[in-house]
């Protein structure tokens, strides 16, 4: 009986040990890149998913017509060249010569057309972004033309996003057997364990490292330990873990993300509609302290609704520096000291926004505001705060797109996403102008004006642009970061 027990315990041990499938290869194999991700992809079909974890991997396996660069500009990818007609309604691409999918089928104009037709299908979550294309015509083997229903200044960006990848439509089960033309092809995917990729030699730009293995390791601390032991080459970590990295053993790379974090103030509230009250709030908040306490000092301060690091960004920080006395004085002058009661709604799924909110509430109470905090579920936040606009203050982040207009359109007075309830005819005019302006220089000038207007009027308190933190082994070089969810492993190499 006793022996049986011991046997069972031993077997359990063996089972526990065997399930620890941490990366085992050590040392300096320069032909293998070892990465870790914390979440398994939601399938590997870029046209049928909205998950970041999917695009991080599909962007390696598939190609897009245009390639996004680090600053958000676009260079030709599969396309050799493109041209947009003067009326902005005809967009045609010439495809590069001799391209093939991983299964050796030819990638020509017809394949591009079929791929976009599939992207426009009902099952595709991004279909409505591409609804503006009324028809796609194959002009020749190498040339394909998109017809637009109405002009769109951001039309080119639609061909750089990872979901616009060209897929081989006749291949079966793209979800688990992706078929693209990218520099790497899928070798093996064992869900919850690892994904292995092999370099594909038919790509228009070859990868330098022949093999990639991506491990699924949910725990950040475990990822860091493995990397420092030399079992991994590339990981991404959250801001709060940055202090745990031993910089003798690893390199830390920091990049601004294409996004912003802010505290929205609902102008439907009679107090918050007054600019003086909003100013008092701005002066009361100590953003550097919050950054230190919540994000470990990681993040780039911003002064307006525009991500730092994106083309056209203007540094407008410091317009309302931390000055609690001034804030208190404004409130007392308006005879509102202790009288302004605000409801702050915080989304529970984002602990860092909840923490930020708690600190801000504390700082506001010190100068004479009354703040009621409510921590609510994400679904409730979306329905009550974002769509229902029933709140006074809330903390949230917004992800940027390649064309800044998509981010700024929230401020249109009659916009469906104007959850600030902010109305400013001057801003409306600028937004309408920028939407139809074709000249990029003119547009940049308008974006500058919009940023200055928002920084002055503060319909929201702009906190910061978050940063992406990449940790690599000392030998790995050539990492590039992009303003959309794209991984590009082609330029990576070991020194």
């Amino acid at each position: 009986m006793k022996r049986k027990k011991i046997m069972i315990i031993l077997m359990l041990f063996a089972l526990a040990l065997s399930s620890c499938s941490a990366p085992k290869q050590k040392g300096s194999d320069t032909s293998l890149l070892r990465m870790a991700k914390s979440v398994d992809p939601d399938g590997l079909d870029p046209q049928r998913s909205v998950a970041e974890s999917t695009f991080e991997i599909t962007s390696v396996i598939y190609d897009t017509l245009l390639e996004v660069q680090e600053d958000g500009s676009l260079l030709p990818g599969i396309a050799q060249s493109y041209s947009l007609s003067d009326d902005g309604l005809h967009l045609s691409f010439v495809i590069k010569e001799g391209l093939r999918f991983h299964n050796d089928k030819v990638l020509d104009a017809e394949a591009v057309k079929n791929s976009f037709l599939r992207l426009k299908e009902e099952e595709s979550p991004r279909a409505k972004d591409y609804a503006n294309f009324t028809s796609i015509n194959v002009l020749s083997d190498k040339e394909v033309e998109f017809i637009l229903a109405q002009p769109d200044v951001g039309v080119l960006t639609l061909f750089g996003y990872p979901w616009s990848a060209i897929v081989e439509v006749s291949a079966e089960n793209l979800r688990s057997k992706p078929m693209g033309s990218g520099a790497y092809k899928l070798d093996e995917w064992i869900p919850q364990q690892h994904i292995t990729l092999e370099a594909f030699d038919g790509s228009y730009r070859d990868a330098k490292i022949p093999k990639v293995k991506i491990f699924m390791i949910p725990d950040t601390s475990a990822q860091i330990t493995s990397l420092e032991k030399g079992e991994l080459d590339l990981i991404e970590i959250p801001a709060e873990s940055i202090g745990k990295i031993d910089t003798d053993k690893a390199n830390i790379l920091r990049f601004p993300r294409n996004g912003i974090q802010l505290m929205a103030m609902n102008s439907a509230n009679a107090y918050l509609a007054q600019k003086e009250v909003r100013e008092a709030i701005a002066y009361a908040i100590n953003i550097p302290d919050i950054k230190e306490a919540v994000w470990n000092g990681v993040g780039i301060p911003i002064g307006s609704h525009y991500p730092a690091g994106v083309k056209g960004y203007v540094d407008l920080t410091g317009k309302y520096p931390y000055d609690p006395q001034k804030s208190e004085a404004i409130l007392k002058e308006l005879d509102l000291y202790g009288k302004v009661k605000l409801r702050m709604m915080l989304p529970k799924s984002y602990p860092e926004y909840v923490a930020t909110g708690q600190i801000i509430a504390n700082q506001l109470e010190q100068v004479g505001f009354v703040v009621d905090q409510e921590i609510i579920e994400w679904a409730a936040w979306l329905s009550d705060v974002y769509n229902g606009r029933d709140y006074d203050l809330t903390i949230i982040g917004h992800t940027g797109r390649l064309e800044p207009y998509a981010l700024l359109a929230k401020y249109l007075s009659d916009g469906s996403e104007n959850y600030f309830n902010y109305v400013n005819p001057q801003l409306d005019d600028l937004l309408h102008l920028v939407k139809t302006e074709q000249d990029p220089l003119q547009r940049e000038e308008m974006y500058r004006e919009i940023q200055e207007l928002l920084a002055e009027e503060i319909p929201a308190i702009y906190l910061q642009t978050p940063e992406r933190i990449i940790v690599t082994s000392k030998a790995l070089k050539g990492y590039r970061d992009f303003p959309v969810i794209i991984t590009d492993l082609r330029d990576l190499y070991f020194e």
Binding site: D289, A355, I359, N362
Partner: protein, 271 residues
């Protein structure tokens, strides 16, 4: 021997909780909501006995403030639940049979829900906050008190002294309050003490899930839930709140057991 141990241990633990409760009315609790962002996650020191949390707030102050809320919420909830339960049970016991069926089936319905689920549901309907968590916890305390009162009234209903009181023309209300309730008191008090332990635990769970006491106020469950976000980097953060919660629940359970043995179980004891 075993009995005495339960008494002393229970009294000791509840005593600590009571001490914390009283301390929460002293200036010691004033620091509970003061943030010091330059001094976060600091370890125990003479200035901060239990250290500081992620916002640099004094953990000891937050603990004693939590004890106040936990104690008040549980006491309020159990008292309210016991009162409503006793009234409903009495009505069911002496009222007309259709009323008794109606009430008891309703109570059966309440019993069919797991307690915490019922409390969560009520919080969703009523909204969050201290008052509503008292009500939510009270509702799930009602069935046990109601059933208890009901069964004891049925048991005593046909006793001779009750019949005698009736024959003198005493009303139902008087019979219940003057002749029955005093006799039920020991059992009800026992139930009251052990219900306290459950109420404390439920309050902790509700706050942990973010449905009870809302920040910036302090609550043991809330502190545990906040500590959970930082347990990889600062694993000790949740220990004080967890210990106090455990002490409160254990203290009231032990005390309840002792009272139970003394007043009810004592008759059946072997030794």
């Amino acid at each position: 021997m075993k009995k005495d141990f339960a008494l002393y241990a229970g009294l000791f633990l509840v005593g600590i909780i009571l001490l914390f409760f009283l301390l929460s009315y002293t200036p010691l609790a004033d620091r509970a909501e003061i943030m010091d962002l330059k001094n976060t996650f600091s370890g125990p020191s003479t200035e901060h006995i239990f250290g500081t949390d992620q916002f640099g707030r004094d953990i000891f102050s937050r603990i004693i403030l939590s004890t106040r809320y936990v104690f008040l919420v549980s006491l309020g909830a159990v008292s309210l639940g016991a009162m409503v339960g006793m009234i409903l049970g009495s009505i069911a016991g002496i009222g007309p049979s259709f009323l008794s069926t109606l009430i008891m089936r309703f109570i059966d319905g309440l019993l069919a829900f797991p307690g915490i689920l019922l409390a969560m549901m009520l919080v969703f309907v009523l909204g969050k906050g201290i008052r509503n968590s008292v009500i939510a916890i009270a509702v799930f305390m009602v069935p046990v008190f109601c059933k208890m009162t009901y069964s004891m009234i049925l048991e005593k209903k046909n006793m001779l002294y009750i019949k005698a009181a009736k024959s003198y023309g005493m009303g139902s209300f008087g019979i219940v309050t003057q002749h029955m309730l005093p006799q039920m008191m020991p059992k009800l008090l026992t139930q009251f003490t052990s219900s306290m332990a459950r109420a404390i635990l439920t309050e902790g769970s509700l706050s942990f899930l973010g449905l009870g006491i809302q920040p910036p106020a302090a609550s043991l469950g809330l502190m545990l839930s906040e500590a959970r976000q930082h347990y990889l980097s600062h694993p000790y953060l949740g220990i004080p709140a967890g210990l106090i919660l455990m002490m409160a629940v254990l203290g009231f359970s032990l005390l309840g057991d002792y009272v139970n043995d003394l007043w009810i179980g004592g008759l059946h004891e072997d030794d």
